[in-house]
């Protein structure tokens, strides 16, 4: 059973809402969260031809920071992420594993030529962190468009869904972990 979720902002990334994230994540999984310092040599994961960072390799690196074997770790960065076969990813995680990574790069309204909206960025980040952590807890994509585990390939998809698990995903999570989560 998972003991703690560690939330780490990579290399000093410190958005104004950073401290508000932990309670939302904690609420989603009914688990304590702890902050963690994550200083990585990100140049190692940079692909100059794509001008993006390799998410899978960063996740592999994050595992070295895992304080306890029964915990989960989530890295949050403003860098643009990719996996080799896709043009970009909002985030990435190990399915039924310990580590996850979320990028806010494409969650900013400015990325789409719109005015900055801090509250919207925060909500999107909460949803993506909960989504990737859901995968780390073994949940797969959900067909319910309001469930946080619904696959999102557009930022608009992220906006439609809620930051919580649907009853079915919640039941699956309880089955897998034996611990209820809050909706």
């Amino acid at each position: 059973m998972t003991s703690t979720i560690y939330l780490g902002f990579l290399n000093g990334y410190s958005p104004s809402w950073a401290e508000d994230l932990a309670p939302r994540v904690s609420q989603a999984f009914s688990l304590p969260t702890q902050p963690i310092d994550l200083e990585l040599d990100l140049d190692l994961y940079y692909a100059p031809e794509r001008r993006q960072y390799h998410a899978t390799l960063i996740i592999a690196r994050l595992l070295r920071y895992l304080p306890e074997l029964d915990s989960k770790i989530v890295g949050i960065t403003s860098l643009d992420l990719f996996i080799p076969v896709l043009t970009f990813v909002f985030g990435q995680s190990q399915l039924d594993g310990a580590a996850a990574l979320v990028s806010t790069h494409r969650l900013h309204s400015e990325f789409y030529g719109l005015p900055a909206d801090i509250d919207l960025l925060f909500e999107r980040t909460v949803k993506e962190v909960v989504h990737e952590l859901g995968h780390a807890f073994g949940l797969v994509h959900c067909p319910d468009y309001l469930c946080v585990m619904k696959a999102s390939t557009y930022v608009e998809d992220v906006d439609i869904k809620k930051a919580s698990l649907c009853s079915e995903c919640q039941a699956t999570l309880i089955d897998r972990s034996g611990k209820p989560s809050h909706r």
Partner: protein, 445 residues
Amino acid sequence: MRDRKILIVDDELSVRQSLQEWFREDGFQVETAADGNAALKMMDAGPFDIIVVDLKMPGMDGITLQKRVRELDKSAAIIILTAFASVETAVEALKLGAYDYVTKPVDPDDLSNLVRNILREKELSEENIRLKEKVSELSGLAPIVGKSPKMKRVLDLIDTVAETDSTVVILGESGTGKELIARAIHGKSKRRFFPIVAVNCGSIPESLLESELFGHEKGAFTGAQYRRKGKIELADGGTLFLDEIGDISPKMQIDLLRVLETKRFTRLGGNQEVTSDFRLICATNRNLEKLVEDGIFREDLYYRVNVFSVPVPPLRERREDVPLLAEHFIERYARAMGKARKALSAQAESILVDYRWPGNVRELQNAIERAMVIGTGPAIVPEDLPLPSDREISEPADRSLSAIEKDHIERVLMEVDGNVSQGAKILGIDRTTLYNKMKKYGLGR
């Protein structure tokens, strides 16, 4: 989506891993292979719903692999993936049946849409198969139309035998509706909540019939990629309907006899005995007794299947049912075609009743369907019914009686496969008279 399977074939580990992770998050069961040969071996773990194939790989390239995969599994949707896009290879891949062709890196939304479309098509295709089976089942329960004494006798026989578990043989010419009778017996039997599985033994080559009936294990013969249940196994609890039983080979007769006696068999290439509790209904348009006499059909099998026989009369022997049947088919096709129900003109009805119907009810059904398609008026008229035997309906007035007699005898003999006794019976003369007339007109046996 949890039971959907994807195979990813790419020589780059990072691509395999990222795609594997991506699809696992979607709930797929994902297998990976680093090259074409490994992928072909992985096919044993299939069948796969989707196979993602990298175009450029050391050894076997993606196009060659696609051809090899197609030989093994025609239903898997193949997505060709490449970093080197070219129109020629894309066209070649699509011509060979690839579902789509995408270049790396692919937009996540494009990949999601592609997979969603494939699955939607697969679901529709699977639903289509299920619905066709359902329609076939429902149409099989279509009413048996007929008020003639001969059909009344058939209906009585169906009621008598349905509730028993006896083997039934249905005898009748082609097109008389033997399968309909079989389905009616099944539909009234206690086995009706289980499937009726029909096999037309005459339309399947012997080499395939064995696997069709008994099933096969993986590797039983070239191309047997997966274990497959046979029709006998599928009929467990229900009814096995073997049409054209008179056409099966001597070896199949022995195998079938053994199954009928023990209700146990092994799949092709297997050792494990399988049991199936089924009721056998078979049908033939051939004279089984004659086939036994000629040594073509095993006598022991004949007695095993001929427990209860239901003879179905040809349509020419129940002409009073023709108008009823015609009305029934008009109604059915009007509904199916979304057209208004047509009337049957008196002249058209008269033509239908007088016609000899060598193809029986099936021929009548086809004639009505055609009339419903080509007819433009509110009623079916003679012009809508260009039946092939105009000669029979109205002989030209300049022919001699002996010419007509010769043609008629020739046609009757053709219909009974040269059987003089049957021919004489139809013609209403004795065999000697028929022999004399055949000699006179030079009609050899």
